[in-house]
């Protein structure tokens, strides 16, 4: 894959792009203590969030977690029950949707069925009263960007799902909005097309320098495209961090469980100090040690979260200095080519741990098989200590 000009130009900038770490940076969008109630139901519960210019931000959560409501409030289709939204310093309260410098790509695409592709893309530009030649030029540019030039004269019902999605995208970026909102943009596409489009979205964002806010329930999608992810649950923003941090440093059981696969070992703190916390397992028999700066007081209930690929498994005994060693039996095994996933039932408990192994050699003298007795262990710094 060759580098595109925009990638060449913006690549290095991109790598060091982290304005949220800079205390002097002024965010483009600020949600301040946003609450939204529908009758008795609290859809969004006291959410505060800053999004910076040129950021690709994802709101991730299961359906009904309030992510779409939060986005619709930014677009102006819903109004917060309390709290304040500002965009580039301007309070958006009372600004109708048609005067907000944000554009949205709808989940259903919401293309105008009585207009051609061209007219759909031109719709927003016409509202601004741009001169005709300029509109035509901009529409042509947009159609070129999404590779839909041959379909300009078609009506939406004459297009495939993927093509409609591109029309919707072209229409939403035609006005060069300050912020582009994408509501489950890739949900209706098949896997291959989705992956392609994810990369196209990222390229586009680099090329146009827009700020993207994307709503999705697909964690893979969020991980691929985002600079930062906000994980939501029951109307609350649970964690806001980069994809890497979300994966490696989840701040609670919910996030750990929602993103990827994880083993949660429930236990009680035995002692803490000296850069490590000792935990006695409750659902998994054993004494565990976890690397942590400041641990909770002894006696408090915690969970050790360990990703499957950070667990080690072997038929032979582990090295003598290994920590957190468990024994068990292989219950299930899935060979996936690059990885093999093992489900291991731990002796003396109901616990089943998920361990994945990279298949780094083509052959093995004695591969692990069903019903094998195995040793499982993980390093102290492989585990994340979760208190909530």
């Amino acid at each position: 894959m060759a580098l595109k000009p925009a990638q060449k130009a913006l690549g290095p900038i991109r790598r060091s792009f982290a304005p949220w770490l800079d205390p002097s940076a002024v965010p483009l969008i600020r949600f301040e203590n946003i609450v939204k109630r529908f009758g008795d139901f609290t859809a969004v519960d006291d959410v505060s969030l800053d999004i910076h210019q040129r950021e690709f931000f994802s709101l991730l959560g299961p359906s009904g977690c309030g992510k779409t409501t939060l986005m619709r409030m930014l677009a102006g289709f819903e109004h917060p029950t309390s709290g304040r939204i500002t965009l580039a310093g301007e309070d958006l309260a009372g600004v109708p949707p048609y005067r907000r410098p944000v554009n949205m790509m709808f989940q259903s695409y919401a293309l105008f069925p009585h207009m051609t592709v061209e007219q759909n893309v031109a719709f927003g530009l016409k509202q601004d009263g741009l001169p005709k030649p300029e509109i035509a030029a901009r529409v042509a540019e947009m159609l070129r960007l999404v590779k839909l030039e041959p379909f300009a004269k078609r009506k939406p019902h004459q297009l495939s799902g993927g093509q409609r999605q591109r029309v919707a995208l072209a229409r939403s970026i035609a006005k060069r909005p300050k912020v582009l909102l994408l509501d489950e943009p890739l949900g209706a596409l098949d896997k291959k097309l989705r992956e392609e489009t994810q990369f196209e979205l990222m390229d586009l964002q680099m090329e146009l320098g827009l700020t993207f806010l994307i709503v999705t329930h697909d964690q893979e999608e969020a991980m691929t495209v985002s600079d930062r992810i906000g994980v939501m649950n029951h109307g609350k923003l649970v964690q806001v961090a980069t994809p890497g941090e979300i994966y490696e440093q989840p701040n609670c059981r919910y996030v750990a469980d929602f993103i990827g696969n994880i083993n949660l070992i429930e236990g009680v703190v035995e002692s803490a100090g000296g850069g490590e916390v000792r935990v006695t397992g409750e659902d998994t028999p054993g004494a565990f040690v976890c690397a942590a700066e400041a641990g909770p007081a002894p006696g408090s209930k915690v969970a050790l979260a360990v990703r499957p690929e950070k667990m080690r498994v072997s038929l032979d005994a582990p090295p003598a200095d290994a920590n957190n060693v468990l024994q068990g039996e292989v219950w299930d095994l899935a060979y996936m080519g690059d990885w093999t996933v093992l489900l291991i039932k731990i002796d003396g408990s109901e616990k089943v741990l998920r361990v994945s192994r990279a298949n780094m050699t083509r052959t093995e003298a004695r591969p692990i098989a069903w019903d094998d007795r195995v040793h499982v262990w993980f390093a102290p710094d492989a585990a994340v200590l979760l208190t909530s």
Partner: protein, 310 residues
């Protein structure tokens, strides 16, 4: 449209299928085409004082000669006769004018009604549709008579306006063209409201959100999105009321005065007082020809609409 290859399902005889298709065709043949052909034939006949009041009659017992005589007896005279009376021509034109004006009035009244119904909370929409259909539970004739009671010099309307002190003298509404319009709009309004409601109700509201999102204020998105997308309903509603309104008889007869003479009344006059069945049939056939053009347009739009959805 994709071309569907008609594959013969196993175990179904072609006769079974033909039988299923034959039933509606038979229905149309017996109850629509046959009566029309009879009317057409009578329109080419001559008026006589007899039972039935026209000739020639086809008598197959007379053999080939009788058939030849029968066709020789037919003529276009009744059609020429229509044009000899300017009254008839004026009746055609006034029918078209009244029907067209009433259709426009109904569109103007029905659109906001249908719009409000389609935007009403989902739970009360069936009730509103019910309310629109409710008048049909009473006979049209009785409802038109009721309007006489309302519009009369001493009727409900004049009495209330005078009681309120808005007018001193009673308004002359009954037996004027205004009364005909009131009657037409009242009687046919549901046929305009329902297709409009149907097309407005299925309008996807995210389209209006999308329009707003792209910088289009609500009053503009109404014209740029709502109206174009409800056009099939507008067209269906207009033809549904225009076509029967042209041939309307009861309303102009009961509510109209000497100033309104519609083609339905001309038809009635020929049929009953004049006992001129051939003349009446010629008027009816000519009316049908006049209406074939709008009916064809309507059919065409409907077909396109169905294709567009597929």
């Amino acid at each position: 449209m994709t071309e569907t290859v008609a594959s013969k399902p196993e175990g179904t005889s072609p006769w079974g299928r033909r039988l299923v298709v034959a039933v509606p065709y038979l229905w149309l043949l017996v109850l629509f085409l046959t009566p029309f052909l009879i009317v057409l034939k009578i329109s080419f006949s001559n008026k006589v004082v007899a039972q039935p009041p026209y000739e020639p009659q086809l008598d197959l017992a007379g053999g080939w000669q009788a058939v030849k005589d029968f066709f020789a007896g037919l003529s276009l005279d009744n059609y020429y006769a229509i044009f000899e009376y300017t009254e008839n021509i004026e009746a055609y034109f006034s029918s078209l004018k009244i029907a067209a004006t009433a259709t426009i009035l109904m569109l103007l009244i029905a659109y906001p009604m249908a719009y409000a119904m389609a935007r009403a909370p989902k739970t009360i929409r069936p009730t509103l549709v019910m309310a629109v259909i409710l008048p049909f539970w009473t006979s049209l004739l009785i409802r038109v008579y009721a309007w006489i009671g309302i519009l009369d010099r001493e009727g409900l309307l004049n009495a209330s306006l005078q009681w309120l002190g808005i007018i001193d003298e009673p308004l002359e509404i009954l037996h004027t063209e205004i009364a005909v319009y009131i009657g037409m709009v009242y009687s046919y309004l549901p046929f305009m409201v329902l297709p409009l409601y149907a097309s407005l109700e299925k309008l996807d509201e995210t389209l209006l959100e999308a329009a707003a999102d792209l910088g289009c204020p609500p009053w503009k998105s109404f014209w740029q999105v709502t109206v174009p997308l409800s056009l099939p309903g507008v067209i269906a509603g207009c033809f549904l009321v225009f076509i029967p309104a042209v041939g309307e008889f009861v309303i102009p007869e009961l509510l109209g005065g000497s100033g309104t003479y519609m083609i339905g009344q001309a038809l009635y006059a020929e049929f009953f007082p004049n006992l001129n069945w051939p003349g009446a049939c010629a008027i009816a056939v000519l009316l049908l020809l006049v209406l074939v053009v709008p009916i064809a347009i309507y059919q065409n739009v409907q077909t396109k609409e169905i294709e567009g959805r597929a």
